[in-house]
Structure formats: structure tokens, C-alpha cells
Symmetry: C2
Subunit: 339 residues, 2 copies
DNA sequence: CTGAAAGCGCTTACAG
DNA sequence: CTGAAAGCGCTTACAG
């Protein structure tokens, strides 16, 4: 690479199989075979073709290949917000498996908007072999429509008839509620996430049932957004609810609420115990460090890509997996109620 | 949407302009014109064509369009690590401008590997109209080669002959060093980032010169990675350096070092003052909160996309902008040296 | 083992 | 205003 002279002039036109064919004196179809179906061509021609390709810096044009084959060799991963730390491990897990299968992964971001999610999904879908839809805000029917067009795996949310991967929130939440109950908490609240989020509904229902089972009261408090700001904004509502502990939809919301508490002189955990969800980057940084229910996002990423790849190859779209384990991570933000 | 009957069967084949042409009784070329060059076709035909397109749920196939035109309508953004909070604002800024121009943005991640960066860039490049290369680990020559093939903008690093956008670190660092000096610090250290990072070199050189100007000594300490682990691992080396303040390559490293200090009973800021870079998500969460030099990543994202779009349209690849301002953000991790 | 041809879905001069 | 044709770069039956 360094110095084959200075960089080629701007308009450099990429080499095609026709260039290679001309140089080596064979038919373009032979070039295509030599490059893609090793063994289908005599060793010596293949050799010459490969050399010429290397000389010309040939790269096969994925667009052109996609037209006749319908395969692009890339997968799309669409999340509601790429800049949400929740997705870090998911991204890493997905990349790990994609890399192993020599598949390129491209990411896109629907910016928490269902409308944008839909249009982005459609646009992305046509340029990839399959789509991973993470924490979708779409309706089941819309997801089913997308899934009908091309292989798709829903992540962090089951959709009837569509392959999916999601965590089982119960184990982690049982740990959390047992701990709260054991410490003496009897009135708690769930600080909710987006209404359109399936996972929010799941967390609320599970928390509710587990709390009731244990003879605790539980209030649902709305938040304006699943972000730190959303948590901060909910401070007054939380105070008004008169509870001793809060389970937040996610760590971002919990951290936002934590910040507001500190600012208003509400001591955590003495006056209020706080539990988040996801164990994101930063959850252990706060003071007090945030207790949280962790799901294996890394595993979800791996499983989801593996499943999608399977669906693409064999058309095998085996159903839902709703069983990735969760666990409670105990940190300083939880204690016995102070009064 | 909802219920046009149940979702179409899996293999549903997308409608093409030929389908529309057949239904409306015109030539496919007319369909193409009606859809893309409003006005070039009689109002009534255009009308009929649009209706048929809507009926069939027609979406133009970007691959097929890209072949004759060479344009895909999408931009690629390649970063060294998508899960690094540093890039949050960059991503948002880039998306803002892309959306305004009805351009799709796809993201990819080189996982901190120069080799992977190169191959990903090449692969991505052929599927997009232009590439944003963020904090590249490649050599100038390699970047120049990529830039020769297709419009490219380097972000957070200038490259000779390649359009770029990068911050001017001096203003923020002057504030930081003036503060340290004023507080009485005389022996400080720079905890370095990746050697291959242009920005790391820039920060070191600037810190060095400014420190020397002020009669302070400054040591360079290596870190194993630009992550929290990298900062933690550097604890012993920092202690050995016998300094009263540390400037870290970035906030992640600073937060890692901070954690190690607390763990080993080194009080921050009394025993050691700490300053990071970038003001990432979480920098204000730690205890003590981290002082840091903030650059306008959001602006960089916006400018970079605007510049790339310009380069694609007019071939106008105006040069480097090395002037995005930085500022010091003062938080609790800095104080006068304690002994 | 390899060539010649047709086709993937679209765009765009070129005619009329 | 619209049709017919050629071409973008590749793949893949079909022959030989």
C-alpha cells in the first residue's frame, strides 16, 4: 500500500471483472467463477485471475452482485437509540458472531420514533440480507409485515410468528423484590418507560405481580422519556407517591432520579431505595452506586445474529426464545427504609 | 396498514417498475421518470403511476438504482468503537444533518483495529455515496487512498489533502493548565491514549508545551487501552510518577484511574487531581465528578456530514477545519495539591 | 474447464 | 410527453 506513487486521481474508477477478463484473456464469467467458486476453474487460470485481481485492486461490487443473487452479505441492526449505553453489549455480541461468519453489520438508529423506525427499516431492509429489530416501537402487525418481506429477528421483544430473542425478567426481579421485602419495604413504585415499549409493559406487570404476591403495594409512575432527563422530571411525582423504594424502567431513568434526589436533599438509600434495569455503563459510577437488574445483552446479540443467519440460510425461522437469564446486581442504592 | 388480510407469505417478491408499467400500460422508463423527475411526465400519467405504485407498495430498489447512477443515497460513518460514549453527540449531530437532507446514515465499527478499519471501510465505501472516518487508526496514505476512491471526510483528525473536521484542543487545555498552575500544581502527568491516534499525539504535544510554558514538569505515562480498564491498569505507573495532577487522554481512562485511586485509598482531588477529555456520558456521575475538556462533538458531526454532502454534490472537497472550540468543564476532581 | 447469453431493476441519452 | 434501447457489474443456467 504505501507508495505506488501518490494516491490515484479523485475520479478513479474501480476495476471490474471485465478488466480482469481482458487482461487474462478469459471470459468474464470465468473470472466470476474463479473468484467465487474455487475449484470450478482450472488451477492455473484461477491463479492468473487472482493475480490480475490483486494487481488491479479489484473489489467485487456488492450492489452489482446483489442484483442477480439477492444477497448483499450484510445484516442490518436497527435500534431505537444508538447512543443508549444499554445497547453496548448487544452491539459487541452481535459483532462477534457477524465477524465469525464474515458478514458485515451495519447499524441504524430510529431516534425513538416509530415513524422513523418504519421508514428506516424499510430502507435498510432492501439493502441487507436480514434485519435485527431491537426494542421496536412498532406494532406487531408492522413488524410482521417487515418480517414477511425478508428475514427478521426481533430482539428484546417477542412478536407472534416472528423469530425473537428476549430476556426472562423474572429471576432478576424476584431477587430484587425479595431483597426489598426482606429489608422491610412495603410501599414501592415502578417508574415507567415508553408506553409503546413491550419491555416496559413486561417489567411493570412482573413487578406488579411479584409485589402483590409479597403483600407490598406498588404504584406506577409515568416518565416523560427513558432518559436521565425523564428520571429527573419524575422527581416530584415520585415524592408525591410516598414510597420507600423505586424500581425504574431502566438505569438511565434511575440515574436521572438519583441526581434529582441528591439535588433536593433526599438521601439515597436512606430516604429512598433505587433499583434500575440493564446495568449500563455508568451504573457503578454514581454515588451511591446503582443497584440494577442485569440482562445478558451480549448473549442476546449473539443469539439474535446466529438466529438471523440461520433464517437466511435455511429459511429456518425457529420461534421465540424468551429465556435469557437476568440477575440482580446489588450495590449501594438499596437499604432498609430509614423511617 | 393493519389489516389488508394477514401478512403476505414469506417469499413475497417486491414490486418493480415493470409491475407498475404493466398495470398502467406505460413503458417502464416512463414509470422511472414519473417517480423521480416530477414534471417530466404528464400530470395524469404521473398520477396513475403514483397510485399504482402505492397500491403495490412499491419501494425503489436502491441496489438497482445504484448500478447505473452510482448513487445509493446513503452515507457511512465508521468509528473505532460504536460503544464508546465519546461518540454519542457525534452520532446525533450527524443524524440531524443527514435527516435534513433525506439521506440515510449507516454506522459501522472497526473495533479499535486498524486492519478491520481498512477492510470495513473498503466494504462499506462501495455501498455508500461517501464515508465519514472518525478517529481513524489508519495511516495517512491509507486514508488518502480511500479518499481517492470516493468522497470521504476525516473526523477528529486532519489528513493532508483530505477534507476533515477536528477540534482545536488549545483553548480548553489552556484553561485546564492555567487552573492547575494557579492552584499550585508543578509536577503533572499525561496519561496517554493509543499511539496510533492522531488526537492522542495532539493532546500530548499541546499539554507538554503548555506545561513547559508555565514552568511545570510533565511526564507521559502509557496506558494499555483507551478504556476504563486502561486507566485502572495505569494506577501503579501514575503513583510511581510522583505527580499531583493527571491529565488523561480521555474520560474513560480518567474514570478508570479514579476508580483505582478510590480503591487504593488515594483521595481525589486531595492527593491527586484528575482531568479527562470529552465530557462523556457519565463524567458527571462519578464521585468526585470528573473535570474534563469538552469538544463540540455534536458540531463536528454536523459539519462533517455537511461537508461530505458538499463533496458528493459539487465534488467540492474543501480542506481541513481544525477549529472547533473546546472548553474546560470544572468539576470536583480538581483542587490544590494536598501536601 | 470455459464461453456466450440472458437477466437482476433501474436510469438516461436518443428518437419521435 | 413517451417509447425503445443500451448499459451499470455481476451471476448462473445452458452449451460445448
Amino acid at each position: 500500500m504505501g507508495d505506488k506513487g501518490r494516491p490515484a486521481p479523485k475520479g478513479r474508477v474501480p476495476a471490474t471483472i471485465y478488466d480482469i477478463a481482458r487482461i487474462t484473456g478469459v471470459n468474464p464469467s470465468t473470472v466470476s467463477r474463479a473468484l467465487n467458486q474455487p475449484g470450478r476453474v482450472s488451477a492455473s487460470t484461477e491463479q492468473r485471475i487472482r493475480e490480475a485481481a490483486a494487481d488491479l485492486g479489484y473489489r467485487t461490487n456488492p450492489m452489482a452482485r446483489a442484483l442477480p443473487t439477492g444477497k448483499t452479505g450484510t445484516l442490518g441492526l436497527l435500534v431505537s437509540d444508538l447512543t443508549n449505553p444499554v445497547y453496548f453489549d448487544l452491539v459487541r455480541g452481535a459483532e462477534r458472531v457477524a465477524r465469525e461468519h464474515d458478514t458485515m453489520l451495519v447499524f441504524a438508529d430510529s431516534q425513538e420514533s416509530a415513524e422513523l423506525e418504519r421508514s428506516t427499516a424499510e430502507r435498510l431492509q432492501i439493502a441487507v440480507d436480514g434485519l435485527l429489530l431491537v426494542a421496536s416501537r412498532l406494532e406487531d402487525a408492522q413488524i410482521q409485515e417487515l418480517a414477511a418481506a425478508k428475514p427478521l429477528v426481533a430482539v428484546n421483544r417477542p412478536v407472534p410468528g416472528v423469530p425473537s430473542v428476549a430476556p426472562d425478567v423474572r429471576p432478576g426481579m424476584i431477587e430484587a423484590l425479595d431483597l426489598l421485602h426482606g429489608l422491610g419495604h412495603r410501599r414501592i413504585a415502578y417508574l415507567a418507560g415508553p408506553e409503546a415499549s413491550w419491555m416496559n409493559g413486561m417489567r411493570w406487570v412482573t413487578a406488579h405481580d411479584l409485589a402483590v404476591d409479597r403483600g407490598m403495594s406498588i404504584a406506577e409512575i409515568q416518565s416523560s422519556a427513558p432518559t436521565r432527563e425523564g428520571g429527573t422530571d419524575a422527581f416530584a411525582a415520585v415524592m408525591a407517591a410516598d414510597v420507600t423504594a423505586v424500581l425504574a424502567y431502566n438505569d438511565l431513568v434511575a440515574l436521572g432520579l438519583l441526581g434529582a434526589c441528591l439535588e433536593h436533599g433526599v438521601a439515597v438509600p436512606r430516604d429512598l431505595s433505587l433499583i434500575g434495569f440493564d446495568d449500563i455503563f455508568g451504573a457503578d459510577l454514581s454515588a451511591p452506586a446503582l443497584s440494577t437488574v442485569r440482562c445478558s445483552w451480549g448473549d442476546m446479540g449473539e443469539r439474535a445474529v446466529a438466529k438471523l443467519l440461520g433464517a437466511i440460510q435455511d429459511g429456518d425461522a425457529s420461534g421465540a426464545e424468551l429465556n435469557l437469564p437476568t440477575e440482580f446486581v446489588s450495590r449501594a442504592s438499596v437499604a432498609a427504609p430509614g423511617r
